[in-house]
Amino acid sequence: MSKLDSKIPEGPLEQKWEKYKSSVALVNPANKRSLEVIVVGSGLAGASAASSLAEMGYKVKVFCFQDSARRAHSIAAQGGINAAKNYQNDGDSTYRLFYDTIKGGDYRAREANVYRLASVSANIIDQCVAMGVPLAREYGGMLSNRSFGGTQVQRTFYAAGQTGQQLLLGAYSGLQRQVGLGTIEMFARHEMLEVVNIEGKCRGIIARDLISGKLERHFGHAVLLCTGGYGNVFYLSTNAMGSNVTAAWKATKKGAFFGNPCFTQIHPTCIPVSGDHQSKLTLMSESLRNDGRIWVPKKQGDTRKANEIPEEERDYYLERRYPAFGNLVPRDVASRAAKERCDAGFGVGTSKMAVYLDFKSAIARYGHSKALTQGINNPSAQQLKDFGKLVVEEKYGNLFEMYEQITGENPYELPMRIYPAVHYTMGGLWVDYNLMTTVPGLYALGEANFSDHGANRLGASALMQGLADGYFVIPYTIGAYLSKEIATKAISTDHEAFVSAEKDAQGIIDKLFAIKGTKSVDHFHKRLGKIMWDKCGMARNEKGLKEAIAEIRTLREEFWKDVRVPGSANDFNPELEKAGRVADFIELGELMCMDALNRSESCGGHFREESQTEEGEALRKDEEFAYVAAWENKGNHTYELHKEELKFEAIKIAARSYK
């Protein structure tokens, strides 16, 4: 038997999940009380899973490295959350959301999972509103929607430019409610360092108390990794400084396969890099592409200021190349188009590695309609501008402020300068339909798994997936496993497996301190980031990837000889935390390049220069690569590739076109 069994239920696509829900084994309430679940990570997936499982009666422990569950990086998601509600009466349906997501992912996602995601999407909105999440509303009191890339309907729900914040605080409030009720025990400022397996099943974790430095052993009948993505492998990304791959990576060392590691999303609209000191990149929400128009000058190396370039000398290249979707093409397409223009010498700003995102026409358009509602039929130019600004401010005010804080420029007057940046990782731990990894009892939810977005994620779908996994999928699928565990008593953490896992974690810490080298952790992280961005970023080729693998190996050896970790292990020591994370990023980086090298087709965010159409669009090779690449960690930096074939039954696989 193949090692990869996706456990997709039989039956027609639309009935799979309904049938599964009615037939999956249940755990009775009395037995739930003696079953313990560990949740690592407290973002949308982790918080929603933890509170839902606790409400059902399971004993739950939640771990996060931040000082509070409320700070998980889901909080920074700006634009919105998709749901097939069809409140706008514009032809949306579960099938359309499913179709858009599969197509957006360039036919590299599993149909059954994506259909399930689309079908629970509407429940998420209901749940969040019931919990008091103040989503944006129209004057009639109904919920408001907007559009995101890769779709032709308005299905995105939002709360200004702070949708992630509002949804996370909603999930966090549910989590804290259970903490108050004593059904969840919360461990903030704790980092998971090892997975503990006993007799082939995951039975717990080793976590480090980040304040005292003490290693702790925690037992669980099941462990859920909700630890987010690994975009920080690039050093500069829109991820939080602490976002890391350590939990997922440690899981691969204990038997969990890693799916499609090379699938990373480069987001088209971020504030460009401004100097060597820069520590992170800031996203400007995709929602801005509803109203902003992207352009560069038609003349190469044009040094005029944006406002001095007349309309007819501007190249709105997305509208030109993709008339059907225009500025709302998917992220991978928009990012590559920006890179293409900048590489060809049309970039703007001091670095010439930026394009304009311009709100002039939106301000004029909104100004006109606002003036009419104010009873002004012949508004002056100034009135149009003032009214238009008011409307734009209401929609995107916080984003405009953020832009001004960082760049010192006023985006109401001058177009924004933007450039693509690493944002999200579609790859992650391989999971089956139950969200279980290849280790029984070890699950991965949200961005930490590989499952729903294929080779490119559509905007406003990350929040949807995180909450779908936590609120509506895992509460059912975990029963399939735990119903067979009701006879398993809690295992003592004196068990040799816990002792040896703790020894492994301690060994790495001791090794890091023993090096006493000359260079800081950041020094290595920056070098890794540069290799990854240059050779495994927006465009990849065989030669570059081979070089990258060799360079990363050298970097890894240097790291273990020359890194300096100050302070001590029995103390609050952020440098030690970073060192452990960067050590894992270096190993992951190598695997990402191996995966990118193996996949010699282009698909979604993975663009192999060798595989493109004459027009420079991504060219898939379906006969060869319609599979999920799941990598098994064989130790000593060797990996074995397993393939999960992707079968498309409901959708006809086709070339992806947004023209």
Binding site: S68, I75, P134, G141, Q176, G408
Partner: protein, 247 residues
């Protein structure tokens, strides 16, 4: 830019701390305040000293983790921004900048500029939620909510829980934080069901954590990076008063 930093160093909550002076050179005005700290820490590590511990994570002003008391003001001299969004262009070459942790009895220092704000989580767990289990919800558009109410609720919900309000208050009061959550839920029909018990339980926990009383100085509103309004405190007082009459 060349600057003189006076930074609070404290090994842990047991030992006493002190201000230590660090000169920094060649700081770009485009750096964020935290990136300037990165530069200083890199220097300290290379010299073999221990870097300065400070909380930070998203670095885009939304997670609420960063928390520096800069020249006597939480999050520094600019209004409406967190420390991570404060840029060095807000300072002048040659400036001396004093950086301390949040100071409040309810926020004990963990190390250097890092403090323990878990009191906020405990307050939320006493009532900062609507008791609806997963799967219980009706269609989201079944309860129309007037746009002004939804907007006001959202404005209160924009609180990032950083604790600047407590840090700046001479009484170390947490009224702005607590009232923002009470207001967000009190303004929504879904939240009215538990409004009475919510406000009483949250206020009781706030008192138990050792936060001070509110004397309406309004410093919290001025220093709040998210512009949470003092009106929320008035609303919470009204809710609290009504709740006590009812019971």
């Amino acid at each position: 830019m060349n600057l003189t930093l006076k930074i609070w160093r404290q090994k842990n909550d047991k030992e006493t701390g002190k201000l230590v002076t660090y000169p920094v050179k060649d700081i770009s005005p485009d750096m964020s305040f935290l990136e300037m700290f990165d530069v200083l820490n890199e220097e300290l590590i290379t010299k073999g000293d221990e870097p300065i511990a400070f909380d930070h994570d998203c670095r885009e002003g939304i997670c609420g983790m960063c928390s520096m008391f800069i020249n006597g003001r939480p999050h520094g001299p600019k209004r409406g921004v967190t420390t991570c969004q404060l840029h060095m262009r807000s300072f002048k070459n040659g400036d001396t900048i004093v950086v301390e942790p949040w100071r409040a009895a309810a926020f004990p220092v963990i190390k250097d500029l890092t403090v323990d704000r878990s009191a906020f989580d405990r307050i939320i767990s006493k009532g900062g939620f609507i008791s609806v289990n997963t799967g219980n919800a009706q269609d989201a558009n079944n309860i129309p909510i007037p746009k002004p109410d939804a907007d006001a609720s959202f404005e209160a919900a924009a609180c990032i829980g950083c604790g600047a309000c407590v840090a700046t208050c001479k009484n170390s009061s947490a009224m702005l934080f607590v009232s923002a959550k009470v207001s967000q839920l009190a303004l929504l029909p879904q939240g009215r069901v538990e409004a009475t018990t919510r406000v009483k339980n949250m206020v009781a926990q706030m008192d138990e954590e050792g936060f001070g009383n509110c004397t309406n100085t309004g410093a919290c509103e001025i220093e709040c990076p998210k512009g949470i309004s003092l009106e929320n405190i008035a609303r919470m007082n009204r809710e609290y008063f009504v709740a006590n009459i009812k019971s």
